[in-house]
């Protein structure tokens, strides 16, 4: 009797498992894994979307490291990496500010975060306008006493245009990084802040001993992610400068190779190369976390101990 019932239950389970996984798995395979395999295959061919294909072995990969325009993009990604380090630092600072008492907290946060909600094309136009000669940025700088003749062409001057683009990306993502960090900071037991204030800890001590340990993991994660993120920078140069004047990033050049010159094989090889970089970063992250996690756990324990200590101290005081 029970056996029979169990059987029907299992059958029902299997049905629901099948019914609920088949569509997501189908979509995942169709739009992610199948194209992924295709991409690896393409990377060994000299081909266009339509027409004959010729197997050329590793020659596409050799091209990736030989073509000047591609090598340039890798150096270019260093700008974006620097930008994200600045972004992380700034986000950390602002999130810390929000950890202490701030008036009209939601208003400030809203202003800082809203750029994240804007679509990339609109941001492109906003910054094209912002940087145009004699327009927004120049006007503000002139009001601050700069002479227009001494100001560079923000999007044409090769000495500065990549920084201009990086700034637009920092502008867009600063608020979201800040909210991310703030979320991690708030996940700490909030009595810790209280206890610290009662003990007369100054802001720096509070930051160092309470805030920093709580976000060590997420900050490390973000720094590692910025390696791959900087190679994947796409929208700012694509929309604002169309990759002209030496601003074409890895993806912009790849997009061009794939869809304009239709060198699908080479573009695929670039994609596979990027994937390898991502994997290395991922492994680096896992490796780092193995060590950091140990420390974090130790820290957590000491926090617990401190908290208990403070609580008992408080109770005794009362």
């Amino acid at each position: 009797m029970t056996k029979k019932k169990l059987g029907s239950r299992q059958r029902q389970q299997l049905t629901v498992i099948f019914a609920f996984t088949v569509i997501p798995l189908f979509l995942l395979i169709l739009f992610t894994y199948y194209p992924f395999c295709k991409m690896v295959q393409f990377s060994f061919y000299n081909m266009k979307y339509i027409g004959p294909r010729k197997f050329i072995g590793l020659r596409n990969y050799i091209q990736v490291f030989k073509r000047d325009d591609i090598i340039r993009t890798m150096l270019l990604s260093l700008y974006y990496m620097a930008g994200s380090v600045v972004q992380i630092g700034l986000a950390l600072y602002i999130a810390t500010v929000f950890c202490f008492k701030v008036k009209a907290e939601n208003l400030w946060k809203g202003f800082l975060f809203f750029p994240y909600m804007i679509n990339g094309i609109a941001i492109g136009f906003i910054f094209k306008f912002f940087y145009t000669r004699g327009f927004v940025l120049d006007t503000v700088l002139q009001a601050l006493g700069f002479d227009l003749n001494n100001l560079p062409y923000w999007l044409k001057d090769q000495a500065i245009n990549n920084w201009s683009l990086v700034f637009s990306s920092v502008w867009r993502y600063l608020g979201s990084t800040m909210v991310l960090f703030l979320g991690a900071m708030m996940s700490v037991d909030t009595t810790l802040y209280e206890a610290a204030a009662m003990d007369g800890a100054n802001k720096w001590q509070t930051f160092k001993h309470i805030i920093l340990p709580s976000i060590k993991t997420i900050v490390t994660l973000n720094i590692i992610l910025s390696i791959t993120g900087s190679l994947s920078a796409f929208e700012p140069p694509y929309v604002i400068t169309s990759g002209a004047n030496g601003t074409g990033t890895f993806f912009v050049v790849m997009n061009d190779i794939a869809h304009t010159s239709q060198k699908v094989g080479l573009a695929s090889a670039m994609a596979v190369f990027l994937l390898v970089v991502i994997f290395i970063a991922k492994m680096l992250q896992d490796l780092l976390f193995k060590y950091i996690f140990r420390n974090v756990n130790a820290d957590d324990e000491s926090h617990e101990a401190k908290k208990r200590h403070k609580k008992t101290a408080l109770e005794r005081g009362v």
Partner: protein, 295 residues
């Protein structure tokens, strides 16, 4: 958040005398906030200013000079018709509705199965989704394009919609995390009362999943509304199949320096995002920090 506010108020009360250090910190604190917010808002405000200017004003005055009439809407109407934004909003709305419905169902069902049942392949499916998140999206389009071509899905709204419906690992984990907080005894008692597993999911768990659904709807909604690359690539008939993001792109080319129109178009395109942001600010923050948990 509230707790911390209270804490700081308490700590302020405790320290009755204000030290000079505290005053300096307050000054630095507000100065940096004002400075950062100024920079965050300046580019948008400059667009609002320019969008309200008449053609003559735009030609003759500096970009930061306030317009004579803030409520001059001629640029907005012009930009709206020129970029074909009526069609664009309709398409974007349609895409959003179907994709959000589809991805909510697909994502929550997958999370339900992965969280509630132990079966061979459970871990494998999780890993497949996690690994997929590592693959660079734009880079993959090189070969996705070929597949879309061979399936005749290019230049059709449904093709684009199907593509966008796939679950990403982040929303899957947000659902799974939420399922973990719903006690399994809930399912058990319903099962013993004779409900089928499908009914348990649909009638009992899905309604309880509401907060996670809202978070995912917002995150996915913002993502889909702002998605440009694939929309541009796969919806090639720009008159008929434009989305809000791709319709904005009409302003490149011959209209490239008509910034009073461009700014109006930009402001129109970000209005829906602004409205959603004002209503759901808190859920959006939650969504962004929830993504952090799984990194």
């Amino acid at each position: 958040m509230v707790a911390v506010k209270e804490n700081s108020i308490k700590s302020q009360n405790l320290r009755v005398t204000c030290k000079p250090g505290a005053i300096a910190w307050t000054a630095v604190k507000y100065f940096s906030l004002i400075f950062c917010c100024f920079i965050a808002v300046l580019p948008i405000v400059s667009c609002v200013i320019t969008a309200a200017k008449t053609e003559a004003e735009y030609q003759s005055t500096n970009v930061m000079t306030p317009p004579s009439n803030w409520f001059n809407i001629t640029n907005y109407t012009k930009a709206f018709t020129m970029a074909n934004m009526g069609v664009a909003f309709l398409n974007s709305f349609l895409i959003l509705c179907i994709v959000l419905l589809g991805s909510t169902l697909i994502g929550s069902q997958l999370a339900y199965v992965l969280n509630r049942f132990k079966f061979p392949g459970n871990g494998l499916i999780r890993n497949l989704f996690t690994f997929a998140a590592l693959l660079p999206g734009i880079a993959m389009q090189v070969s996705v394009y070929e597949i879309m071509t061979s399936l005749h899905l290019i230049n059709t709204l449904y093709g684009y919609i199907i593509m966008m419906c796939g679950t990403d690992v982040m929303s899957m984990y947000i659902y799974i995390q939420y399922f973990e907080n719903l006690p399994i005894s809930l399912d058990e008692s319903a099962y013993l009362d004779g409900a089928s597993y499908f009914k348990i999911y649909w009638k009992i768990l899905l309604p309880l999943l509401k907060p996670a659904i809202v978070t995912n709807l917002i995150l996915k909604g913002v993502g889909v509304y702002n998605e440009y690359y694939c929309a541009n690539l796969y919806l090639q008939d720009k008159r008929r199949l434009c989305t809000v993001a791709t319709s904005l792109y009409t302003f490149t080319g011959p209209l490239g320096n008509k910034y009073n129109l461009i700014c109006a178009g930009v402001i129109i395109s970000l209005l829906p995002a602004l409205i959603v942001f004002c209503i759901c600010q808190k859920q959006i923050y939650n969504g962004v920090s929830a993504g952090a948990v799984k990194g």
